[in-house]
């Protein structure tokens, strides 16, 4: 049997109903999107599975350039959505094509991915670089930067309902880079960068490295090397060097810390060159 401890499987139709169930059942209740992590890493105490799949949160929308993705949208649905196709040069589908397999992308939801916070997550690394916000509800709704979501395990009787991406300003670009042993494997390391230019000068930059093997995190020292620069080769070089020095890389069974440190350098450099190329290519 998949999950012997489970005594109850419920599929609420409204957010209020789902929150009520989570409040009532407390720590023994587990909300799921696709449910992948629950099946894989089943904590013994789970008695009630609260399937959020019937909540009206399955959408990818655009409003004045801003993108809203409902928590229940699968990675596949986001990948194929015309709404994200051209956002910042198509960086979202570019990243999603590299996440797991089509079989898993058909099941995994955006909300589940963000809340599960697997440290190798490609989605989280890129969304941190894009400056995403998430909408949380515990009865009251609040919107917080994705960065402030973690550690997500602290969420109690709270449901992540939506992720929002800012409108892509003119002269901005983003890129994603992943290194893994096979196309299907999780990242040994991933990087994402975002830059916004005004009059040839970088006014905003986000550089993120993930799977270090910790969850994606910004690298402020690398970002500082870019802001004010013209994104010339030498400032990209300095940023990549700063990323290598400041990223909190560690060893695990997949790779050594030294190896990861070199990957940060290469990943940040390539990602920034790619982003710069997109600016030059006239993509927004």
């Amino acid at each position: 049997m998949g999950l012997p401890s489970v005594k109850e499987f419920v599929r609420p139709g409204t957010l209020d109903e789902a929150l009520e169930l989570l409040r009532e059942r407390g720590e023994r209740a587990w909300p799921i999107g696709g449910g992948i992590d629950l099946v894989l890493f089943a904590p013994r105490e789970v008695e009630t599975v609260v399937d959020l799949g019937r909540l009206p949160l399955r959408y990818v929308r655009e409003n004045e350039g801003r993108i809203s993705i409902g928590a229940i949208a699968t990675l596949r649905e986001v990948l194929e959505s015309p709404v994200v196709r051209d956002y910042l040069g198509g960086v979202i589908p570019e990243m999603l094509h590299q996440v797991a397999s089509p079989l898993l992308r058909n099941l995994a939801t955006i909300g589940g991915t963000l809340v599960s916070a697997n440290p190798w997550s490609d989605v989280i690394t890129l969304f941190l670089a894009l400056g995403a916000d998430v909408v949380l509800s515990d009865g009251k709704t609040r919107t917080i930067p994705l960065e402030k979501l973690y550690p997500a395990r602290a969420l109690r009787a709270t449901i992540l309902t939506e992720v929002r991406l800012p409108s892509s300003a003119r002269e901005s670009a983003a890129a994603f880079w992943k290194f893994s042993r096979t196309a299907f494997d999780v990242a040994l390391l991933n990087c994402a960068t975002f830059v916004r230019m005004v009059g040839g000068r970088c006014v905003e930059a986000r550089v993120v490295a993930g799977g270090t093997p910790q969850l994606g995190a910004r690298l402020p020292r690398a970002e500082a090397c870019l802001v004010g620069s013209g994104l010339d080769d030498s400032s990209i070089e300095r940023a990549a060097e700063a990323a290598r020095e400041s990223a909190d890389v560690r060893e695990d069974r997949r790779a050594s810390a030294d190896y990861r440190r070199e990957l940060v350098l290469v990943g940040v450099k390539r990602s920034l060159h790619e982003a710069r190329g997109r600016l030059a290519g006239g993509e927004r």
Partner: protein, 157 residues
């Protein structure tokens, strides 16, 4: 708990444990074409179409599939005639031990339904979650290309 599924076109009701996976339910009910490989979403042997999209049935809780349409490898042939994908896998010798074949064909069906004319890279990505330890994937690749052609011809007459 009770769930109802449309399996290979037939309406079925099943009594399941709330912690069961869809894979466990299907195999228990006789759909043995759905294979259990890794049980962790890595190998794809358990792939079925769930409401038209291929998923690892080992990771789907059965309750989640309640009210859905499921297609297993058993539901692919029509009136004794094999599906073009099944024919192509035979013709191209894309089957050795056969354990991965049902999942591989289901993943390919999802691919070809949504992308009738995939290039080689798209086919490789389409079966990225299906491990085959015998063939080296070249013959599957050829089989999927051949099936795509047949299915396009069938569509356009």
């Amino acid at each position: 708990m009770k769930i109802s599924l449309t399996v290979n076109g037939a309406q079925r009701a099943f009594d399941v444990h709330p912690g069961d996976t869809l894979l466990e339910v299907l195999r228990r009910e006789g759909y043995k074409g759905v294979k259990k490989g890794c049980g962790a979403g890595d190998c794809g042997a358990c792939a079925v179409l769930l409401d038209g999209r291929a998923v690892n049935s080992c990771l789907v809780l059965a309750g989640k599939a309640d009210g859905s349409e499921v297609l297993t490898i058993e539901g692919l042939s029509k009136d004794g005639a094999l599906h073009p994908l099944q024919e192509a896998f035979l013709d191209e010798g894309a089957v050795q031990c056969g354990y991965c074949t049902p999942g591989m064909i289901i993943a390919s069906l999802d691919l070809l339904t949504h992308h009738p004319d995939p290039n080689e890279e798209e086919i490789r990505e389409g079966i990225a979650g299906n491990l085959c330890r015998c063939t080296g994937y070249t013959k599957e690749l050829r089989a999927i290309q051949a099936a795509a052609e047949k299915m396009r011809e069938a569509r356009h007459g």
